[in-house]
């Protein structure tokens, strides 16, 4: 089998899989009756629609060559960004805002091909100072700044 539109094919399979998953999950909830529909009804309708649409998209992608562009992933920017944000979450909880921002900015700098550690560190300090001044100093938001001793 040859797929004519790889991006559409992936999208279709994604929607079918997700649709089925939501139908299965919804089936655990109460259906209710027509005059008092339960929590399962509406998600079930939507999920079935999505799965059917996904099926049509998949079918079309195999048969028609609407969109022949291949899938192209560039792993570095997306992977580094997701890691940087997750790290921010972990560190914010554990060591406070200042450390979290510095780590986020420094790690995020590695999303580009030629990062420079020194300039990333300077930028990190600047962003951290600015954020502390604005968000905590000026707005008084309740965020912990430093690690608790």
């Amino acid at each position: 089998m040859r797929v004519n539109s790889p991006r559409d094919f992936c999208a279709g399979v994604f929607f079918v899989a997700l649709g089925i998953a939501f139908v299965v999950l919804s089936s655990h909830y109460h259906i209710g009756e027509m005059r008092r529909p339960g929590p399962a009804v509406f998600p079930m309708i939507v999920a079935v629609t999505m799965a059917v649409l996904g099926g049509v998209i998949t079918f079309r992608s195999v048969v028609f060559a609407d969109n022949e562009a291949p899938l192209d992933f560039h792993f570095r920017p997306i992977a580094v960004s997701v890691i940087a944000i997750t790290l921010f979450g972990i560190l914010l909880d554990w060591l406070g805002l200042v450390v979290a921002i510095v780590a986020l900015v420094v790690v995020a700098a590695y999303a580009t091909p030629k990062p420079r550690l020194a300039s990333a560190l300077i930028l990190a300090c600047a962003v951290a100072c600015f954020s502390v001044l604005i968000f905590v100093g000026l707005l008084g938001l309740p965020i912990r700044l430093w690690p608790e001793l």
């Binding site: 027509m34 649409l53 609407d66 969109n67 997701v82 986020l104 300039s119 965020i143």
Partner: protein, 499 residues
């Protein structure tokens, strides 16, 4: 007459010192993010939500609104001078605006863009002032069936107007609705799709969703393209367009304003669609000699007027029905909810100062933007010399802080990371995020009204078609859907989207 006295009331509120300052801050920040590529009004409004916690509802809304329409002004500056659309809605402006700049007419291009935007802004303010009150009257008579059908109509309109595949856009709407349903069901108290996670029982917050889909992912896509911006050396020259320029673009500005005002009201519409449509129309009906694509001033005047008009009239469904027509409006609703106000038809009667203050502030804001943009254009251009690699880590930091401070939940940060990955993958599958976010926002309201209708009608689903207004919405939605699938129209739509 009543409208005028209401507008006067609004002007009184907009002209208090506090509101003037917040209006200015909003317009200033809007222009800033408009100029800077890679960060749009959605992400900015989301980031600034924490700033509004301590404000009253009127200044909060005035400031956030200023960001949205301010971004439309700022976006055109970079589009014209460096061929980079600072905002997605100014993509069309690059076609003729940049060509004008290359021919040494950057000044008049900027001038006509600002004048067109200002004119459109003034007209759109009046449109909101005159059309919102009668709509509120109608909306107050809506039963759940009408609300449901109206939202279905809105979602279908968004799908039809979205770029790319119709099927995928519809599937994305469904996906968005399902994501929106995560959390505790208000009727039965069952926590749906939460996998026993306490954090999921409250549902997904809109701010992490909006930030992931419109903030972080945009940056990631920019990093992938890895395009180096050339610092601008364009000489701007005289800014005021000549009398000939004005005479030539007069009708284009009028057409752009009219079209933009109409398209802004549609769900999924707003600034972007308005600009595209205005340019297409201009290409078809402008008086010869037509020089589109090679620096025709009308190709700048029309879309710039349209995007500003559209940005402002997209407030109408939000203010009158409580239904957001685009992600920015959804955030505005979020901001109002934080203030303890549930948007809907009752707001205009219960809080006239909020409604009319906002409307009047739009006009004031447009005046400020004229000043901010024309004489200060050189300043904004200098901002473009900041290298992107200095900018994006800072954007990440502010996005993360913004997401965290909405609810002070670390979980929202992890959610942001996860959703970023999801949205990246979906974009790689050529699935546009805009219909999904609309589904996400409307999903819970859609279900609520669906169930209420069935309860009221004692389980008879035919009410959706026997109540004439509800039927009208559903039938129009069906016609729209059938119309775009017809081969002839489909071809035009595809052609229009490709431009």
């Amino acid at each position: 007459m009543e409208t005028l006295s209401n507008l006067a009331l609004g002007l009184g509120i907009a002209f208090t010192w506090q509101n003037l300052i917040y209006c200015f801050v909003g317009c200033f920040l809007g222009t800033l993010v408009g100029v800077l590529p890679g960060i749009g009004p959605v992400a900015t409004v989301a980031m600034l939500l924490p700033f509004t916690f301590g404000l009253g509802s009127a200044p909060a809304l005035i400031m956030l609104a200023g960001i949205y329409y301010g971004a439309q002004y700022g976006g055109s500056t970079t589009a014209i001078l460096v061929n980079i659309p600072g905002e997605s809605s100014s993509v069309v402006t690059t076609l003729d605006g940049y060509q004008m700049a290359r021919k040494g007419r950057a000044g008049p291009a900027l001038g006509i863009a600002a004048i067109g935007s200002f004119f459109a802004g003034c007209v759109a303010t009046l449109v909101v002032a005159y059309f919102a009150p009668p709509l509120v009257e109608i909306a107050l008579k809506f039963s759940p069936a009408e609300y449901f059908s109206l939202m279905v109509f809105g979602l279908i309109a968004a799908v039809v107007l979205a770029r790319g595949s119709l099927l995928k856009a519809t599937a994305m709407v469904c996906f968005g609705i399902l994501l929106g349903l995560i959390g505790t069901d208000i009727n039965s108290g069952v926590a749906r799709f939460s996998f026993g996670q306490i954090n999921l029982t409250d549902g997904l917050g809109f701010v992490p969703v909006a930030m992931a889909f419109f903030g972080i992912t945009d940056v990631v896509m920019n990093l992938e393209k890895n395009e180096q911006q050339e610092a601008s050396t364009t000489r701007i020259g005289r800014i005021l367009p000549s009398l000939d320029d004005i005479r030539m673009s007069f009708w284009s500005i009028l057409r752009g304003t009219g079209l933009g005002s109409m398209l802004g009201v549609l769900p999924g519409g707003g600034a972007l669609l308005a600009a595209f449509a205005a340019y297409m129309v201009e290409k078809k009906i402008a008086k010869p000699p037509r020089n589109f694509g090679h620096g025709d001033i009308r190709g700048v005047a029309a879309p710039e007027s349209a995007n500003n008009a559209g940005a402002q009239t997209s407030f109408i469904p939000m203010l009158t029905l409580g239904i957001p027509s685009n992600p920015t409006m959804a955030l505005m609703i979020g901001a109002l909810m934080i203030q303890g106000i549930t948007p809907g038809p009752q707001v205009m009667n219960e809080r006239p100062e909020l409604f009319w203050g906002l409307v009047a502030s739009m006009w004031v804001g447009n005046l400020m933007l004229l000043v901010l943009n024309l004489p200060l254009v050189g300043l904004w251009i200098r901002l473009l010399t900041i290298p992107y690699k200095m900018l994006y880590p800072a954007i990440f930091a502010f996005c993360c802080i913004g997401v965290y401070t909405v609810d002070n939940k670390i979980f929202d940060i992890y959610l942001l990371a996860g959703l970023t990955l999801l949205s990246y993958i979906l974009i790689k599958f050529d699935c546009e995020p805009a219909p999904m976010t609309l589904g996400f926002i409307l999903g819970p309201m859609l279900e609520e009204n669906f169930r209420r209708t069935l309860m009221i009608s004692l389980g008879d689903p035919s009410v959706f078609l026997t109540r004439w207004l509800s039927a009208a919405f559903l039938i129009s939605a069906a016609i729209m859907l059938i119309a775009v699938t017809l081969p002839a129209l489909r071809a035009t739509r595809d052609e229009a989207m490709r431009e």
